[in-house]
């Protein structure tokens, strides 16, 4: 670890935090329907959409109506994307003439993009036509992110309103999230990326003559735009197979900073918008603190583990001063690779600028754990906020009793109904991750995909299902996931991780919105102080992480001790 390394980490995080407030206030205005900066330009467009689709903005939905809207919209998106991928050879804008995808790969990919996971069982530049990339995947990059934001806003309104049943109108929230938030930001970031040298072209590839005089085919395409929404929507699906490690996706240190800032700022700003909307900015900052403290600790742990390096390599004469550089780009170095790895996993982004499978065992343990904690640091756009709020409700319930009042969060009583749905939501991650991992670890169709046997192989499987269920999308590498078993089960894991979580969240919102908002007194459990921040971190680790300890012990943890004992995988 070095001072410049930490300085870079600090600068990127501070730059992000500086964006949180203005962006958060802007989003709060957008979702409360107030006039904002872009209303004069986008207002007519927005109303045009509603008129076209027959959406009545004054007609709001109950939680069930809202959930049905989300599910219907996602199902439609899924079916359209699936058809497009299967039939891409018949559709235009396919200069390389790629074939249609196999049923299981198309299922996996459609599930992946509809759930905002962007797990890629395929190599982008060798599988996808431009049409599939732009009209299929990129569209879902926008709307799956917007869906997450919409659900988070519905839950936010459950705390703002009382004594009613309506949570808002899903179609309106979806439109506003896309039109006012994601689209303008994507345009700005895409232009910045172009300025930094990312290609933006409809050509398939060009041929270059190398210094040795050889002919090399270099893939290209609409990279900058794809990259912009990949980060802003915490999608993470890269244009190229190696994602943000590719020099066209992430050419310089500066583009790397922008990548991290772009993916982190929208999620964090949404948390701020939550605080603003419920009338307590301090509450927003408290939740943001939880995320950032855990991100810094996670980054530090990866950075430390990677700097420490691999004692086995040191023993055969590799300079230990370099630490572990396997799978990392020298233009980013360890600090920025560590920060990227922590942010992309804490955030449900899933893009990578270094290979997680090549991290040291403990360095690899951290990203995996950050996903298993529930993608709440601060999580995917929208999904992170509602995940964080579910944990906040649990924290208030467990420890809030200790102030001698029945638990309440922001004045809303947390009772049996909320607990039931919160536990349903919390149960889904361990059930899906550990369930599928256990089956894959003992069955031939599961183990045959493993690249490295031993504990590292178990980590490969565990990471794959963790990434899928957590809607992250990053991979540990090694595992051959493009098989019918993995494509199908990972697809199911993604769908469950998204929708089996989201529906209970909306049910909680439906229950809370009808409750009166209790007035605060000196006897009320304060949820905007450092004490609550510490408590929430503890609850996230214990309720979100503890159940994965045995699995982690058999994967990265044992690998670490075995490495210390002189054996590597």
């Amino acid at each position: 670890m070095s001072f410049p390394g930490w300085l870079q980490i600090a600068l990127v995080l501070i730059a992000t935090l500086a964006l949180v407030k203005p962006l958060g206030l802007y989003m709060a205005k957008v979702f409360t329907g107030e006039r904002n900066l872009l209303s004069p330009v986008l207002g007519p467009v927005e109303r045009g959409f509603y008129a076209l689709a027959g959406v009545r903005t004054d007609k709001e939905q109950t939680w069930l109506g809202y959930a049905m809207g989300v599910l219907l919209f996602s199902l439609t998106g899924f079916v359209v994307l699936y058809a497009m991928l299967r039939l891409q050879h018949l559709l235009p804008l396919n200069p390389q003439g790629f074939a249609g995808l196999s049923p299981d790969l198309a299922f996996n990919t459609a599930a992946s993009f509809v759930t905002n996971t962007n797990w890629q069982s395929y190599g982008g530049e060798t599988t996808m036509s431009h049409l599939s990339q732009m009209l299929g995947l990129t569209v879902q990059n926008f709307v799956s992110a917007a869906t997450g934001i919409a659900v988070a806003m519905a839950l936010t309104r459950a705390f703002v309103r009382s004594g009613v049943h309506e949570l808002g109108n899903f179609w309106v929230d979806l439109t506003r999230a896309t039109l006012y938030v994601l689209l303008p930001l994507a345009i700005i970031v895409a232009l910045a990326f172009v300025a930094m040298g990312l290609p933006q072209s409809l050509d398939a590839s060009f041929v270059a003559t190398t210094l040795e005089g050889a002919q090399q085919t270099i893939a290209t395409g609409p990279v900058a735009t794809q990259e912009a929404i990949k980060q802003l929507g915490t999608n993470g699906g890269g244009f190229f197979n190696v994602n943000a490690a590719h020099p066209f996706e992430n050419p310089t240190a500066f583009s790397n900073y922008l990548n991290i800032i772009a993916m982190l700022s929208v999620s964090a700003a949404l948390v701020y918008a939550f605080g603003q909307m419920v009338g307590s900015r301090r509450q927003g900052w408290a939740l943001i603190s939880v995320s950032f403290i855990m991100l810094v600790v996670g980054t530090g742990a990866i950075y430390w583990a990677e700097s420490y390096g691999n004692p086995l390599l040191t023993a055969v004469g590799v300079d230990p001063a370099m630490g572990n550089m396997e799978g990392k780009e020298v233009r980013f170095g360890q600090a920025m690779s560590a920060l990227y790895a922590a942010v992309t996993t804490g955030l449900s982004n899933g893009g990578v600028n270094a290979m997680h499978g090549s991290l040291t065992p403990l360095g690899g343990l951290v990203p995996m754990s950050l996903i298993q904690l529930g993608e709440v640091l601060p999580g995917g756009v929208g999904s992170g906020l509602y995940g964080l709020l579910v944990f906040a409700i649990l924290a208030v319930f467990v420890a809030g009793l200790m102030v001698g009042r029945t638990p309440e969060f922001l004045g809303k009583k947390v009772e049996a109904r909320e607990m039931k749905f919160a536990m349903l939501a919390v149960l889904i991650l361990p059930l899906v991750i550990l369930g599928f991992t256990a089956v894959s670890a003992v069955a031939e169709f599961g183990t045959s995909s493993i690249l490295t046997p031993g504990p590292h192989g178990l980590s490969e499987i565990l990471y794959a299902y963790t990434s899928a269920a957590g809607n992250n999308g990053s991979a540990f590498g090694g595992l051959t996931a493009n098989t019918p078993w993995y494509n199908t089960t990972l697809g199911i894991a993604m769908l469950l991780g998204r929708f089996a979580y989201l529906v209970p969240v909306l049910a909680i919102a439906g229950s809370l919105v009808a409750k009166p908002r209790a007035a605060a007194s000196t006897g009320t459990f304060p949820t905007d102080r450092p004490l609550f921040v510490g408590l929430l971190i503890g609850i996230i680790i214990i309720l979100g992480g503890l159940q994965f300890f045995p699995a982690l012990a058999l994967g990265p943890i044992v690998e670490h001790f075995v490495m210390l004992a002189g054996q590597s995988f």
Binding site: S162, F397, V398, A399, G400, L401, M402, V403, G404, R405, T406, P407, G411, V414, E415, A416, E418, M419, A422, M423, V426, L427, P430, L431, L434, G435, T437, A438, A441, V442, P455, G457, L458, P516, R517, A518, A519, S521, T522, G523, T524, F525, L531, L535, I542, L543, L546, Q547, F548, F549, P550, A551, A553, L554, I557, V558, F561, V562, L564, A565
Partner: protein
């Protein structure tokens, strides 16, 4: 305080039946109400079967046998905790039942004929609502009812534990009688208002016994959390079998069972119902009967407390606090004059004047000879009273009435007199003018005296985050003065029953939980509307029916204790839940390295407690998990202490003790058990 408070939970009278009940409670049909412990029982049964198999195979039977044994202990300790919590109540219910049996009623045959006392003797159980019964000296009240005729002193110690008899009479606020109490003088005619089997005593018995105990809303929510956690750990443990198989370890069902039971929240699961029962029991020992656990829980959440002024905040009678003479009159002369005027005045006001004159001016009560002395009694028309003695004509009374008596009016009464009258009125007191013959002597300041110590009680409530609101029929000026003297946060002056109800509704719409104390029939609507309505045992039947708690001591500030008990129940639940969940960290460190020591000896690095062997490690974790339930039974029954220091301070304190403590304690505990297990060499 009633006698039942003295039964200690550690007495054999409680412990021995509790041991028997603990075994009876193992019945799975009963245990399924508690999912965590039910799962533990199923697992214990499974391991027992495996133990029997091992016996045949001779393989590791000592290990599986001991694991099975301690799993059964885990279940037994949990049922024992519940049985002990119920024990004290059961003993109390028995004595109530004894008093209730063999009650007979003298049912009046002609209740409409006032002087006809012909009656038939029937068992109390065959009484019907609206029957009228005669209760004479030494008779026990056959049921709950309302006095329709007569006055009697009644011994209510069977219910309240208070041995001093109380007066019960027809009409007014003292007309309600309770079944099982005894008339010790005179007689009463009582109209029965409650069906046999649903009387106050019946409800009390049911409540104490816990037979009809419903889970409270928060208890249900907590059970859901615990069941959810149990499921999560079930998933983690079952899938571990597959992960272990991949790693080349064949985990036995016994060790997986041990891991499951140590991870699921057995500590709080085992003690949850005991906490609730003990809380209700604590309430009963404070002589408060709650009709539902829901109300007790709500008491912990109360934001605003409505208190009647009269009898609660003040003594209820105006008392003389000072004598203010007019110019030319000595203060002592005024005191002497008014002392004379009050000699025959048996009202509380009159007596307070006598008392003040004697204590502050050293006067002695003069002996009045009957000749030529006339007492002028107070009447509503004249609003004046006094005495004619030894040629002196002394009068005291309402200011305008006395001025009329001396032939003056406000303008001629003198500036000093008017100033005194005004300042008394402004401070919320009542001025009482005093005159002798045609001469105005001065004014007596009658004041509503605030009970000593009440201000501190309100300060304690404020520290709990509870606002106090005084409700009074006084005018706003008087109300404001008393409010500031008593230190309440707000007051409601010239309150009618409708206004009280309106005030409560308004506060509730603002998201506040309201508690209200009351005893009169006109309090009944407000008591019913309030989230926590505490009726006085001495109050009317209507009030007692409307509230969801009855205070047997009829002490309005009892609400402070009720709130504390409500908070204690919630805090104890929260503390033990936090403790239970925090415990899991250490259990992982004990069991995980033990499970995989053969395949991955390197995982021994996680054995930071340095436990002797895999088998002792697993057994120690299971033993610790069982023993911690027993160790925490006293805390569950006693409750975590509530301190009115504000939520933030309370939370950090409890998080430190039960959160951090819960993290560290099992590391030490498991190590100690492991040392003992190793020393005994039982594996």
């Amino acid at each position: 305080m009633s006698t039942q408070a003295k039964i200690s939970i550690l007495s054999p009278a409680i412990l021995l039946p509790a041991l028997r009940d603990a075994v009876l409670k193992l019945d799975p049909r009963q245990l399924i109400r508690n999912p965590v412990i039910f799962v533990t029982e199923v697992v214990a049964l499974l391991v027992t079967v495996l133990f029997v198999q091992d016996l045949g195979g001779g393989l590791d039977a000592a290990f599986s046998g001991q694991i099975a044994l301690w799993l059964w202990f885990t279940v037994l300790f949990a049922t024992f905790a519940e049985a002990v919590a119920e024990g004290r109540g059961k003993a109390q219910a028995e004595s109530l039942k004894r008093g209730k049996s063999d009650l007979v009623a003298k049912k009046l045959l002609f209740p409409d004929q006032k002087d006809n006392r012909a009656c038939e003797v029937i068992p109390a159980t065959s009484l019907k609502i609206d029957d009228v019964v005669l209760v004479e000296v030494n008779d026990l009240m056959p049921g709950d009812g309302e006095v329709v005729e007569g006055v009697a002193s009644v011994n209510e110690s069977a219910i309240t534990g208070e041995s001093a008899p109380v007066i019960r009479e027809a009409g007014g606020d003292r007309s309600a009688v309770t079944g099982g109490t005894q008339v010790i003088s005179d007689w009463l005619k009582v109209r029965i208002t409650t069906k046999p089997g649903e009387t106050f005593v019946d409800r009390m018995i049911a409540l104490i016994e816990g037979a009809k105990r419903q889970k409270t809303p928060n208890e249900i929510a907590l059970s859901i959390l615990l069941s959810g956690l149990t499921l999560v750990f079930l998933v983690a443990v079952v899938t571990l079998y597959g992960l272990a198989a991949y790693s080349g370890t064949d985990l036995s069902a016994v060790v997986l069972a041990a891991l499951l039971v140590t991870l699921i929240p057995t500590t709080i699961g085992g003690l949850l119902s005991a906490i609730g029962i003990a809380g209700m029991d604590r309430l009963i020992r404070f002589n408060v009967i709650a009709t539902s656990g829901r109300a007790v829980e709500a008491a912990g959440d109360v934001d605003t407390l409505l208190l009647d002024k009269t009898g609660t905040i003040t003594f209820g009678n105006r008392m003389a606090s000072e004598f203010l003479p007019v110019a030319g009159v000595n203060e002592k002369d005024l005191a002497e004059a008014v002392l004379f005027a009050s000699l025959a005045d048996e009202t509380a006001e009159g007596r307070s004047i006598v008392a003040l004159a004697k204590s502050d001016f050293g006067l002695v009560e003069p002996i009045i000879l009957d000749n030529g002395t006339t007492f002028i009694p107070f009447s509503a028309q004249t609003r004046i009273s006094g005495i004619d003695v030894e040629g002196r004509r002394i009068r005291k009374g309402a200011v305008d009435a006395v001025l009329k008596f001396v032939g003056l009016d406000k303008s001629t009464a003198g500036a000093e007199f008017n100033k005194a009258v005004d300042s008394i009125a402004r401070s919320g007191g009542t001025p009482l003018a005093v005159a002798e013959a045609d001469r105005l002597l001065g004014v007596v300041h009658l004041k509503d005296v605030v009970k000593p110590g009440i201000k501190e009680r309100f300060a304690a409530l404020r520290a709990m985050g509870i606002r106090t609101v005084m409700v009074t029929g006084d005018n706003p000026v008087t109300a404001a003065a008393i409010a500031s003297e008593a230190g309440v946060d707000d007051f409601l002056a010239e309150a009618t029953p409708e206004q009280k109800l309106e005030y409560i509704r308004k506060e509730q719409v603002g998201g506040r939980l309201i508690a209200m104390c009351g005893d009169g029939t006109n309090d009944a609507p407000a008591l019913a509307q309030a989230d926590v309505g505490v009726a006085m045992q001495s109050g009317t039947q209507a009030a007692r029916e409307a509230g969801n708690m009855v205070d047997l001591d009829s002490s309005p500030t009892k609400l402070i204790e009720i709130v504390e008990i409500g908070k204690q129940i919630l805090m104890t639940r929260g503390a033990l839940t936090t403790f239970s969940i925090a415990n899991d960290v250490a259990k992982y460190f004990a069991i995980i390295p033990a499970l995989f020591l053969v395949t991955y000896p390197e995982l021994g690095a996680l054995n930071i407690m340095g436990l002797t062997s895999p088998q002792t490690a697993i057994l120690s974790a299971v033993i610790f998990n069982a023993l911690i339930i027993v160790a925490l039974i006293p805390l569950a029954l006693r409750g975590v202490k509530y301190r009115p220091v504000g939520a933030a301070a309370l939370l950090s304190r409890n998080l430190l003790i039960y959160g951090l403590g819960g993290l560290i304690a099992p590391f030490i505990g498991i190590k100690l058990v492991d040392m003992a297990v190793t020393a005994l060499g039982i594996i």
